[in-house]
C-alpha cells in the first residue's frame, strides 16, 4: 500500500491529510488507527476521505475510523457532518444498505446449557430467520401496511406482538426516526422490500450465538449495567439492515441527485457516487424522508428477527423468553445520516452527521442515551469477523472530536475475489466446527468471502478506538454458533 507522503501523525492513533493535499478540500481529513492499521489501509481510503472533505458545508473534518477501507463514494468507516441548514445530504455517505446495524440480546443461560443444544438452535434459527440471496421473510405485509411499517419502525412490530415494549427503550431513537413520510418512497422500493421483513440478507450479515469469558470482561460495572452478569453467559448478536427496500431507496435518489447536483445546485461532481443535494432542497428533503423510512424498515427488520430468536430459544429450551432473560441490550445503526447537536468552536450547532460503516457513540449523560445507560454511556456493538470475536463498547466524553462516532466492525483487508481464491467455504465450516463453532451458511462461496483472514484484527481496531479516546471496551464475545447469509 502507498501511504500519501502528506499524511501526518497528529497523535498516537490519529493521522491527518491537510487541506493542501487535494484541490478543493475545505477541511482536513482525519484518519484514526494504529501505525499497523494505517499501513494496511488501501490508497482508495485516502482518496475517498479527501474527496469527502471537498463537499459543500462540511464541518471540522472528514473522518475515517480505524476499520476504514475502500468503498464507493465515502470510504467504509467514513464520518462527515454538514450544517443542518446550509449543508448537503449524500446517499453515498450513508450507503445503499441504509441503517445496516447491530443488535445484541442477553440470555441467563451459560455455555454449558447451550453447547449441547447448539446444533438444534442454529438449525432452527436458520429456518426461522431466512438468509441469503433474495430472501423472503415469514411475515407478510401488504404494500399499504408496509408503508405504515416504514413510517413507524420497530413500534409497528411491538404493537403487533413482535417484541416487548422495553425493546423500544433500548433501540437507538426508540426504533423510529421521526419525519419518515412514505410518500417520498417509490412503489418500486415497496415492491422490492415488502416481503423481506425478518430476513438477514447476505454478504457480511449474520446471526451469532456468543459467549462471554471471564477474562474478556474489561469493565465489570458497565457490563453488569448492560445485563452481562455471569461467567460463560450466552448472548445473541446479529447484523443486518433495510434489505432491498433501503437499496432501492438509495438507488432511486442517487439517480435523482445526479440529475440536479450540478445543473440545479452548481456543485461540482468529483465522484458520481458522492452525489449530493442541499439538505433543505426539494430533492434533499425528499431523500432525507425516504432515508428515514429505510432506517425504520431496518429497525423493524431487526425487531422481527429478535422476536424469532426469542421464539426459537423458547421452543428449544421449553421455557418462556422472559424466563430465559432474553433482554435486548441495545440496537445501533452504522449507515445513517441524522440531525444532531454538537459543539463546534464553543458554539452549539445543528448538524447532519453522516456515518457510513461508523457507529454513533454518545458519551454518558447525552440525549438519546437510554435512562438505563445514562451513567455509563451509549452501548456500541461491534461485530468482528465470524471466526474471531465481537465487542461491546461504550461512548465517552473524549469522542467529541468525531461527533461521537467510532468504528463498526473489523474492516476488510482482502477483496472478496481474493478471499474466494485463498479460502474454501467447506474448509472454514469444518475448521470452525472443530473449534466448537457450529455454522450454517446459505452459501459456501459466500462463507469463503467472509473468512477471518479477509479482515483486519478486530482487537487492534477496538484498541485503536480506545487509544484515540472514541470508545471504551466493556466486553469481548466469542462465537459458538453462527447463521450466515
Amino acid at each position: 500500500m502507498t501511504i500519501p507522503k502528506e499524511l501526518q501523525r497528529i497523535s498516537e492513533a490519529c493521522w491527518m491529510l491537510p487541506p493542501a493535499y487535494k484541490d478543493g478540500m475545505l477541511v482536513p481529513a482525519l484518519i484514526y488507527g494504529t501505525e499497523r492499521l494505517i499501513n494496511e489501509m488501501e490508497n482508495g481510503v485516502f482518496e475517498q476521505v479527501s474527496n469527502v472533505a471537498t463537499l459543500p458545508g462540511i464541518v471540522r473534518a472528514a473522518f475515517c475510523m480505524p476499520d476504514g477501507h475502500w468503498g464507493y463514494g465515502f470510504p467504509i468507516g467514513g464520518v462527515a457532518a454538514f450544517d443542518a441548514e446550509d449543508g448537503v445530504i449524500s446517499p453515498g455517505g450513508i450507503g445503499f444498505d441504509i441503517n445496516c446495524g447491530m443488535r445484541l440480546v442477553t440470555t441467563n443461560l451459560r455455555e454449558r446449557d447451550v453447547k449441547p443444544r447448539i446444533e438444534e438452535l442454529i438449525n432452527q434459527l436458520y429456518r426461522r430467520v431466512p438468509a441469503g440471496v433474495g430472501g423472503k421473510g415469514l411475515l407478510k405485509t401488504s404494500h399499504g401496511e408496509f408503508r405504515r411499517l416504514v413510517e413507524q419502525g420497530a413500534r409497528w412490530c411491538v404493537e403487533r406482538g413482535y417484541g416487548w415494549e422495553e425493546d423500544l427503550e433500548l433501540t437507538e431513537h426508540r426504533g423510529c426516526l421521526e419525519g419518515a413520510d412514505s410518500k417520498d418512497v417509490s412503489d418500486k422500493a415497496v415492491q422490492r422490500g415488502h416481503n423481506q421483513v425478518g430476513t438477514l440478507g447476505s454478504g457480511n450479515h449474520y446471526l451469532e450465538i456468543q459467549v462471554v469469558r471471564e477474562k474478556n470482561i474489561y469493565d465489570r460495572d458497565a457490563a453488569e449495567v448492560m445485563g452481562i452478569t455471569m461467567p460463560d453467559q450466552v448472548v445473541v448478536m446479529f447484523h443486518c439492515g433495510s434489505r432491498g427496500f433501503g437499496h432501492q431507496v438509495a438507488t432511486g435518489y442517487l439517480r435523482k441527485f445526479l440529475g440536479v447536483m450540478t445543473s440545479k445546485y452548481g456543485i461540482p461532481i468529483r465522484d458520481r457516487e458522492l452525489a449530493c443535494a442541499p439538505v433543505n432542497s426539494p430533492e434533499g428533503s425528499a431523500y432525507f424522508s425516504a432515508m428515514k423510512c429505510a432506517v425504520n424498515m431496518a429497525f423493524a427488520n431487526r425487531q422481527v428477527i429478535l422476536h424469532r430468536i426469542r421464539e426459537v430459544f423458547a421452543d428449544v429450551f421449553g421455557s418462556r423468553a422472559e424466563d430465559l432473560g432474553m433482554h435486548q441490550v441495545y440496537d445501533v445503526s452504522h449507515n445513517t445520516a441524522k440531525i444532531e447537536t454538537h459543539e463546534v468552536n464553543g458554539e452549539k450547532r445543528k448538524l447532519l452527521v453522516h456515518r457510513k460503516g461508523a457507529t454513533r457513540a454518545f458519551a454518558p449523560g447525552m440525549e438519546d442515551v437510554p435512562a438505563a445507560y445514562k451513567r455509563i454511556g451509549q452501548p456500541v456493538i461491534i461485530g468482528g469477523s465470524m471466526e474471531t470475536g465481537s465487542y461491546l463498547l461504550v461512548g465517552r466524553e473524549t469522542g467529541a472530536e468525531t461527533f461521537f462516532s467510532t468504528c463498526h466492525g473489523s474492516g476488510r483487508v482482502m477483496s472478496r475475489r481474493a478471499a474466494k481464491r485463498t479460502f474454501r467455504g467447506e474448509k472454514i465450516l469444518q475448521d470452525m466446527r472443530n473449534r466448537g463453532i457450529y455454522v450454517r451458511a446459505v452459501s459456501m462461496p459466500g462463507l469463503a468471502e467472509e473468512a477471518g483472514g479477509a479482515y483486519k484484527d478486530v482487537d487492534d481496531v477496538v484498541l485503536a478506538t480506545e487509544v484515540a479516546g472514541l470508545t471504551r471496551r466493556v466486553v469481548r464475545f466469542e462465537p459458538i454458533g453462527n447463521v450466515k447469509g
Partner: protein
Amino acid sequence: MMNRGHYEYLDDVATADVAFRATGATLEDVFVACADATLEVMLPDPDTLENRVKRRITISAENEEMLLFNFLGEIIFLKDAEQLLLRVQSMEVSGGRIQAECAGDKIDAEKYVLGVDVKAVTMYKYHVRRTPAGWQAQVVLDI
C-alpha cells in the same frame, strides 16, 4: 445463439464490493456481459440456471451509461421483488431503449449453489465508453 461480450472481475477496485469490466463489439454484447457478471456474483455457476420463467425488460434512458445502470438495477430489483435470477436471451438497444428477453428461475437455495446478494449498482468508477474495438463498461456492485 447471440453474442455475449467478455467480462473479468477486478481485484484492485473497492475491497468490500465486487468490480468488473466488460468488453464487446456492440453495446448489446457489453450489456449482456454485465448482466452475466452480475448474475455470477449471486449464482457462481450461471450455467446451472434453468429457464423456467420468462421476463421482458424494457428500459429507456438518456444515454448508454444510464441505460446500463437502470438495466442492471432492474435485474437486481427482480431478484428481491419476484425472487428471480435471470439471464438475457436476446437484446436490442436502439433509440435510447433496451428491450431484453430474459429467462431464469426462482431463487432456491436447495436447488442452486448461491453466491452473495447484490444490493445495488454503484456510480463509483462507473463508465460505459467506446473503444477502438467496440464498447467497454466498468461497474462496481455493492455487496
